[in-house]
């Protein structure tokens, strides 16, 4: 009638394995697709050249460019999706996303300020990260009471949520201010940053480290997250240190979001749609949801980014446009099916 423990384990294995294949497939697809498509038969040869650090053929050069971008897309999408799952468990609200607490607004303020000051690309990234960290700290100071669990209200995250929403709007106001004083030639870069764009995003090691440690933390807390999501405050009576878990979720999801936003700007909807779709398909158990949403988020952004750079080629769209255009109807569809 319902799955036994062995079945649950097998099911989790199948889901994770299937999604892992989908991820490899999506990166391969992104590598083959573009203004000049590489046939599948040429991929092994090109890969071999790349691994030996000599990109002589056209296929190898193209694959190098595209695979780099696809891997950046993967790590960004995976981080956003994982941060979304954690934020939803923290706030006990399936409609929360990684940006709801204003972390993206904070990093937008940082990044745009650096652009207005005409800083180098690395300084823009650093400023974006600093902005995200600054707003997380501010939020923590203001809503510390909520995160320490002892609040009387059931669930007890209203203070955190409202503070985050207000800080986020303050950030948006600063962003608008900077957009209105920026010069014409800065505007395009700023708008692309705000929408979220992967062109020219470098492949760095740091986001992978952040993703790996975030995933490790999430998997270790998966069972506790289930209890927290179900029992709110009463999770403490089941032996969970609610305060420590909430703080962990807050800081790790903030770090994941900051890392993703620093890499590619504030790409919307990934952290909302992907966890939602995974919950819809595989159920809310975090032990399955965490690996599934991480992998699916990565694959989703790889595919949407491929679409973004090919759909009206040779012109390239910022990927944030595509995620929003796909995300909105998909989300509304899920919402209405759920409420029926």
């Amino acid at each position: 009638m319902h799955p036994t423990s062995a079945n649950l384990r097998a099911r989790a294995g199948i889901i994770t394995g299937g999604l892992l294949l989908a991820c490899v497939g999506s990166v391969l697809f992104a590598g083959m697709t573009g203004s000049v498509s590489i046939p599948l038969a040429d991929i092994p040869g090109a890969l071999d050249e790349l691994l030996h650090h000599r990109a002589d053929s056209l296929a190898a050069t193209l694959l190098d460019l595209r695979a780099t971008r696809a891997l950046t897309a993967f790590v960004t999408g995976a981080a956003l999706s994982l941060a979304g799952v954690m934020m939803q468990a923290l706030l006990r609200n399936p409609l929360a996303d990684p940006y709801v607490l204003g972390i993206s607004a904070g990093s937008a303020v940082g990044a745009l300020a650096a652009m207005v000051a005409a800083c180098a690309a690395w300084a823009v990234d650093a400023a974006a990260f600093a902005g995200a960290v600054a707003i997380s700290m501010l939020l923590y100071l203001l809503a510390r009471r909520d995160l320490k669990s002892g609040s009387a209200a059931e669930g007890g995250t209203a203070l955190l949520l409202l503070t985050g929403v207000i800080l986020s709007s303050a950030g948006s106001a600063l962003v608008t201010l900077m957009l209105s004083i920026a010069s014409e030639n800065q505007l395009r870069g700023m708008v692309f940053w705000l929408i979220g764009d992967l062109s020219g995003a470098p492949l760095r090691a740091l986001p992978w480290v952040v993703l790996a440690s975030g995933l490790l933390f999430a998997l270790r807390s998966a069972r506790a997250m289930n209890v927290l999501a179900q029992h709110a405050e009463a999770a403490a009576t089941l032996g969970i240190n609610v305060g420590v878990l909430r703080k962990g979720l807050f800081f790790i999801s903030g770090l994941l979001t900051a890392s993703a936003v620093t890499t590619a700007g504030s790409i919307g909807f990934v952290g909302l749609i992907v966890p939602h779709a995974c919950r819809f398909a595989f159920g809310p158990d975090h032990r399955v949801l965490i690996p599934a949403a991480t992998l699916a988020g990565g694959a989703y952004l790889v595919l949407t980014d491929t679409l973004a750079r090919t759909i009206i080629a040779p012109q390239q769209l910022p990927v944030g446009v595509i995620t929003a255009l796909i995300g909105t109807p998909v989300f509304l569809y899920q919402l209405h099916r759920l409420r029926k």
Binding site: H231, A234, L238, R287
Partner: protein, 257 residues
């Protein structure tokens, strides 16, 4: 099993309970009785460790509550909260399985014993046919029974229940209460619960704790404490007691028009 020493509870400047020295022995079944706002739930949450005492201390098995590691404590006492809000579409069996959390520190999955215990708990609450249902689609009474089942699956010697009969129909009120009484009698479990139905409480309790809401309290064996004049005073309403066979039925006198 459970004891308090000079326990004080306050909400703001208002003192709800003062100097509560209270001992609950193993196998006893206590009902906490008092008016709305008398501090029943506040006391229950303090006993469960969800809020700090405003003075004095709570001991479980002779050890102060604050000295227990959370996970060990979760194997000693279970707590049924007054209300629940379900944000996610967990199934009934998943919510009951999560009550087994304190029993496996480091394993990622529950084992087949946990599944067996969870199913037994569901069966004893007569909700085993709902195992695969989304908890958000249950009726209030069904949800309450699933919550009690989760409490049973936690399998602790001490059970703290804040209004276990909430939202239950007549038949299930009687069967849940009967089950709790049986756990005390046959398995030596200790039950402390809040309820508003005096007759039902009288039927299964061995002891009662009355709270006045201004600091005063009265604890003792059921028949010493649950007497018409005392209850009338603590509940601020005249109450009559009728004998029916070997049961006592408590009836509030009608308000004068």
């Amino acid at each position: 099993m459970l004891a308090t020493e000079r326990l004080q509870l306050r909400i703001g400047a208002r003192i709800l309970v003062a100097d509560l020295d209270w001992r609950v022995g193993a196998g006893e079944c206590w009902s906490i009785i008092g008016r709305n706002g008398a501090g029943k739930s506040t006391l229950m949450r303090t006993l469960a460790g969800l809020r700090d005492a405003d003075g004095g201390r709570v001991l479980i098995d002779g050890r102060p509550l604050t000295a227990w590691p959370l996970e060990q404590l979760a194997r000693q006492r279970a707590f049924l909260a007054q209300s629940r809000s379900d944000a996610f579409a967990y199934t009934v069996i998943e919510t009951v399985l999560s009550a087994r959390h304190p029993y496996h520190a480091n394993s990622y999955w529950e084992n087949s014993d946990d599944h067996r215990i969870a199913l037994q708990a569901l069966a004893s609450m007569e909700v085993d046919d709902l195992a695969g249902r989304d908890v958000r689609t249950l009726s209030g009474g069904e949800r309450q029974r699933v919550a009690v089942a989760a409490l049973l699956a936690q399998d602790t010697p001490l059970l703290l229940l804040d209004e276990p009969a909430n939202a239950l129909d007549l038949a299930h009120q009687v069967s849940v209460m009967g089950l709790l009484a049986k756990l005390c009698r046959q398995q030596g479990k200790t039950v402390v619960m809040i309820g508003h139905d005096l007759s039902l409480a009288h039927g299964i309790s061995t002891h009662a704790l009355l709270l006045m809401g201004d600091g005063r309290w009265l604890a003792g064996a059921r028949d010493d404490v649950m007497q018409a004049p005392i209850l009338s005073q603590y509940l601020h309403h005249p109450i009559d007691v009728l004998r029916h066979g070997n049961r006592s039925i408590f009836i509030p006198r009608e308000a004068q028009a």
